[in-house]
């Protein structure tokens, strides 16, 4: 029963690109402003969904309203145009089924072939067929629905027109339905609400500019097409942005032109309905697909939520994972080195060779040598091992070039002794200036990450000992450099060691590789089927929560709590991170999701790292409902987590990963700031023993692990 109710409510929501039950319920209520229309559209969705269910279509799709909304529109439209009579009542269910069948064909076809939504085309076709078919009979009379709008003449006409445009999306003749829908929109999405107003306003302006002679007759029809089109292109099917906002306004112009076009083509025989909206949205989305760069006006690539949620999801994902790459190279040495020349360095890293790195070893005072620095052997890095940055095959070895004296360079053989390793198609790494006769590998050798390749030397164009390291696309000596980040490394700063993930080492910084710590790695190495149990205390409430590690059909691992909450995660050999969370924001799993958002498998007293959160994942963020009015312009709220290890004395066995989550307003919302803290305690055996959560310094949640 719940399932069926959901399928109905979500169907109503779908019309406005909403996935909320309450929105569906409000839309449903709005249709009952005129009860005949309300009941007929309800009949439409019930029959559509029942048919789908009987024919065993995908239950999840039925529940989401995928098959139902065309039925709603059809039911409503029929009553909008015709007076209800007995023979009509017999025909309607039949045509609802026909519309459903059309929907099942078109929605799925568009999805499969173009990866586009089918929108309401099935409804338009179904209704046209119905209308043309009805001309065979003579019992048809035109609808004569009475609205009570006359009693509200106090509401200015322009406002009535706006509400009417909204109401007409559901084929409601009364502007009161529009008021309800408008309120629902406001609560569901500030972006859509704003778009509806702007789309309607631009519609009035452009209509008067483009088709002044028809401005009265077409106002409502272009109005609701404009609003729907602006919804789709401005925020619902494209991630909201300034550009999408411009696109939404431009689409209003298109709506007017195409409405004018369809109006003439159909020549009064058939209503224009939502044809302009369907046409414009589909061709715009499809044409955008052929751009070379998809970095803006991004079409939805995930299960949609509200435009705001889409915005947060997309930007969060972009900031967190955009840099993640296919290869995971690490620094090509042991211990701590110093970047003496970085990308686009002033000495030699220029033009085609700008994406290269030079490494040396420096002491506490930043000096690279002891004694006078006049002998090669004075240099700390001279004869120190250089290692492969990841697994690969040695494809080129150049040896036999003598090491220069300090201060001299060999411009003839400027690369010096060099090893080039192939890691994959189009991905090679190259080490230069190695010490003569120090290369430990030969062409054809397979090397593993951190295997020694040779020793740091001073051959080629190298006035003092250093390693020149670069990625390149082919195996040619000295080929042009490839910009490619290192998967993870630690960079020394004034505050300690900053963990960098898929980043480029900066010139003038000391850097080193991550060393995995057994206990911490154990704590985050969740394997399929593993079960965890926690005794939890949320304020006064005490409960037990169980988790299990599961995998979905796309091979994504996730933790599922017994309450059904899910947190998807990913793990590499050195890093654990959560991707998304769905469910209750008061479960241990939720707090763990916040606390372990991104965790390296290493321990250092003074290591720290940062990560971003999606604001919808956090609590106490109601301010966003206000800031979202400006989302099409800019997001005024930032959410960042700062992670570090808690102070740990030698005699302590456990590790504490601390995190401060800061929600900070910018610009207009400068005054807004909220702080949360999380802690994860990991014991020496490598199990997560405690998860804590603090709001403004007070512990509000704690979970302690219980061994099963």
């Amino acid at each position: 029963m719940n399932f069926f109710l959901d399928s109905i409510l979500f169907s109503y929501g779908q019309i406005f690109f909403s996935n909320r039950r309450w929105f569906g319920a409000l839309a449903l209520t709005a249709t009952f402003v005129v009860p005949e229309i309300g009941s007929m559209s309800l009949l439409g969705v019930v029959i559509s969904n029942l048919t789908a269910l009987m024919l065993k279509y995908d239950r999840a799709k039925i529940r989401s309203g995928f098959y139902g909304f065309n039925g709603i529109l059809f039911g409503a439209a029929v009553i909008f145009f015709y007076k209800l009579s007995f023979p009509l009542l017999l025909l309607i269910p039949l045509f609802i089924v026909i519309t459903f069948l059309l929907a099942s064909v078109l929605e799925n076809y568009f999805a499969a072939v173009f990866n586009l939504p089918g929108l309401s085309i099935p409804f338009v076709i179904g209704l046209y067929v119905f209308m043309v078919f009805l001309t065979n009979y003579n019992f048809i009379s035109v609808s004569s629905i009475k609205t009570y709008d006359v009693y509200f003449s106090i509401v200015p006409l322009w406002l009535q027109s706006y509400f009417k445009s909204l109401a007409l999306i559901l084929f409601q003749p009364s502007f009161i339905s529009g008021v309800l829908i408008s309120i629902a929109l406001l609560f569901f999405s500030r972006t859509l609400f704003l778009l509806s107003i702007i789309a309607f306003a631009s519609n009035v302006i452009f209509l008067n500019l483009i088709l002044p002679q028809n401005s009265d007759s077409l106002l409502i029809i272009t109005g609701f097409n404009s609003i729907l089109t602006a919804f789709a292109l401005g925020g619902s099917l494209i991630i909201p942005s300034r550009k999408s906002f411009m696109l939404a306004i431009f689409s209003v112009v298109l709506v007017i032109i195409f409405t004018g076009f369809f109006y003439k083509v159909l020549h009064g025989t058939l209503p224009v309905l939502v044809l302009p909206f369907n046409f414009i949205v589909l061709f715009t989305l499809y044409s955008l697909r052929f751009r070379q760069e998809q970095s803006d006006l991004v079409a939805l690539y995930f299960t949609p939520g509200s435009p705001e949620e889409n915005y947060y999801y997309h930007h969060n994902r972009q900031k967190r994972f955009e840099r993640f790459k296919f290869y995971f190279p690490e620094l090509p040495f042991f211990g701590e080195w110093f970047v003496s020349q970085g990308y686009e360095g002033e000495h030699t890293h220029k033009e085609e060779w700008k994406y290269a790195l030079d490494f040396v070893i420096a002491d506490e005072d930043g000096k690279q040598y002891k004694e006078t620095g006049k002998e090669l052997t004075d240099y700390y890095c001279y004869t120190i091992p250089v290692t492969s940055s990841m697994d690969g095959e040695v494809v080129k070895v150049i040896d036999g070039i003598i090491d220069n004296e300090v201060g001299k360079v060999n411009l003839e053989k400027n690369w010096g002794n060099t090893v080039i390793i192939k890691h994959g198609e189009g991905f090679y790494s190259s080490f230069s200036h190695l010490k003569e006769e120090s290369i430990k590998v030969k062409v054809g050798d397979l090397v593993k990450k951190s295997d020694i390749v040779g020793l740091c030397g001073n051959s080629g164009r190298s006035p003092f000992p250093h390693i020149h390291f670069q990625f390149q696309a082919i195996d040619k000596l000295g080929d042009k450099t490839l910009q490619y980040p290192l998967a993870y490394f630690l960079q020394k700063t004034d505050l300690g060691l900053e963990l960098k993930i898929f980043d480029i080492p900066e010139e003038g910084k000391s850097i080193r590789n991550i060393e995995t710590h057994k206990s911490i790695k154990n704590a985050f190495s969740f394997s399929l089927g593993e079960k965890l149990r926690f005794k939890c205390r949320l304020k006064e409430k005490v409960f037990t929560e169980d988790w299990e590690v599961k995998v979905d059909i796309y091979n994504s691992l996730y933790l599922e709590a017994d309450s059904g909450d899910c947190a998807f995660f990913y793990q590499t050999d050195k890093l654990f991170y959560f991707i998304s969370y769905t469910g209750n924001k008061r479960s241990a799993l939720y707090y763990f999701y916040l606390a372990a958002h991104q965790t390296p498998y290493c321990y250092h007293k003074n290591i720290y790292w940062k990560d971003r959160y999606s604001i919808v994942d956090l609590t106490g963020t109601r301010i966003r409902y206000l800031s979202e009015f400006f989302l099409l312009y800019k997001n005024f709220l930032t959410t960042e987590g700062k992670f570090s290890f808690g102070e740990r004395f030698e005699d302590e066995d456990s590790f504490l990963i601390k995190n401060t989550i800061n929600i900070q307003g910018k610009g207009l919302f400068k005054g807004f700031s909220r702080l949360f803290n999380t802690e994860i305690e990991i014991n020496a055996e490598g199990t997560i023993s405690r998860i804590s959560y603090f709001e403004t310094g007070n512990k509000t949640f704690e979970a302690n692990s219980i061994n099963k």
Binding site: F334, G335, I361, E364, Y380, I384, E650, D651, D653
Partner: protein, 452 residues
């Protein structure tokens, strides 16, 4: 303008012309401060003699040694050799620099525990470990380095009786081309004794063999010896993996790196003949890499370096008590620090500097301590300028062994201070006094000379 220092006249042979084979006249440089703190001030506040330890130098030595090893071999762990200097403050500096503790006695073990080091970060070496000590070490998961079969049997017996597991390593002795060969500790490599011990440990179900240890000697002058030692232990580790499918967690190459001190018998100064830590590290890492361990098998390299990390961080300030001419005309000075404080003077020619600027002329001088014993000679012959009574000298490189092997004999042990990184001075061991000395003593009733 301060008054110029008076220096009494000395008579020296005039050498004219260019340099001859003996070089020019030695001139003494002076050391008037330690890490920026004036010697004069230190003595004023803490008395003379006075041991001074530089925190900065300790940390710098440890960091440098770590850097040198860490850039050559990926898994490195230092363990501070307690016997070299187990003053709490000194140990704590090393522990703060991530060193574990290497102890050779029960009281050192207890010291490490009291400083907060947990059992699993203690390496328990030495031939004398009581049953109680072993039991405690097992319970606290310390790494027990077994020295002989009798100890091994005791451990097996204890683990069975107490139903305990023990993490153990064996100490291995071997011929690495050094004379004399140290074979009194551990099990011999060449004659197969070590392998016997390994087999016995693997067979004991309550013992886990986690490491292999060797300590080839002390004040080593050959880096190559360490390469051989590393290869030998690595070979054992590989064989253990092959035969018993057991991965050895660590290889412990002990200590023994030489410091800057010059041995009595050495002709050239230490700086010129002693291998640098880089050379030791090169030999060890190249030895270990020869065995081509896989990433998972690769053992952690543990180093118990003591002397090389602490020697040059320790100074002994002493005051001149008297000047003397010996019967053969040699000059001698008596200072207030004797061999009871400077045990290492039995094998080192310490570097000694005056603590104040001097004239450019020096004289060969014998330095005696204040003890009324003939053996109390700090240095037989050293070129020193004329010193006045009450003036200070600084004895260098006394961080290792002196503050553990010192004794209360005729004179008592003085204050030890640490010059901290920020320039402040902290007292880290208070001078002993008569109360401290007599506190432990008991006089039988019968022997009492005065009324209680």
């Amino acid at each position: 303008m301060t008054k110029k220092r008076y220096e009494r006249p000395i008579i020296i042979k005039h050498i004219s012309g260019l340099m001859n084979k003996f070089g020019s006249n030695p001139t003494a440089s002076y050391k008037s401060d330690i890490d920026g703190v004036a010697v004069e001030k230190l003595v004023e506040k803490f008395g003379s003699p006075l041991f001074v330890i530089s925190e900065k130098q300790l940390r710098q030595n440890q960091r440098e040694a770590y850097r040198i090893f860490k850039t050559r071999y990926p898994k490195v762990q230092f363990a501070w050799s307690y016997k070299t200097n187990y003053l709490n403050a000194v140990c704590s500096v090393f522990h703060q620099e991530n060193s574990w503790a290497e102890v050779v006695s029960e009281f050192e073990y207890e010291k490490a525990r009291r400083l907060g080091i947990k059992g699993e970060h203690i390496i328990f070496n030495g031939p004398d470990k009581s049953r109680e000590a072993l039991l405690r070490a097992m319970k606290e998961k310390a790494k027990i380095h077994i020295d002989h079969f009798d100890e091994l049997y005791t451990i097996i017996e204890l683990t069975e009786a107490e139903k305990l597991k023990a993490k153990v390593a064996i100490r291995v002795n071997m011929d690495v081309g050094i004379y004399p060969m140290w074979d009194r500790f551990g099990f011999n490599f060449e004659n197969g004794e070590a392998w016997q011990a390994i087999k016995r440990i693997i067979a004991a179900k309550n013992l886990e063999l986690v490491g292999l240890h060797t300590h080839i000697g002390t004040y080593m002058m050959s880096a190559e010896a360490y390469r051989v030692a590393a290869i030998n232990l690595g070979t054992l580790a590989k064989k253990i993996k092959n035969d018993f499918d057991k991965v050895i967690e660590y290889i412990d190459l002990g200590g023994g790196f030489a410091s800057h001190n010059t041995l009595l018998g050495q002709y050239l100064p230490a700086e010129q003949v002693v291998p640098s830590i880089e050379q030791f590290a090169d030999s060890i890492s190249s030895g270990l890499f020869e065995l081509s361990f896989t990433n998972e098998e690769m053992p952690t390299l543990i180093l118990e370096t003591g002397r090389a990390l602490v020697d040059d961080a320790g100074f002994l300030i002493s005051s001149v008590i008297a000047n003397k001419r010996l019967s053969d005309g040699r000059r001698a000075v008596i200072i207030d620090a004797g061999v009871n404080l400077l045990f290492t003077s039995f094998w080192y020619k310490h570097k000694i500097s005056p603590a104040q600027p001097n004239g450019s002329y020096t004289e060969n001088t014998t330095i005696y301590g204040p003890l009324c014993m003939n053996i109390d000679c700090i240095q037989d012959s050293i070129a020193l300028p004329a010193l006045k009574v009450g003036e200070k000298i600084v004895i260098h490189y006394v961080g290792a062994y002196d503050m553990t092997q010192w004794m209360q004999f005729i004179a008592m042990r003085p204050n030890v201070v640490m010059v901290m990184e920020n320039g402040s001075v902290e007292l880290i061991r208070k001078a002993e006094n008569i109360d401290y000395l007599m506190e432990r003593e008991r006089v039988p009733e019968k022997l009492l000379l005065k009324k209680k």
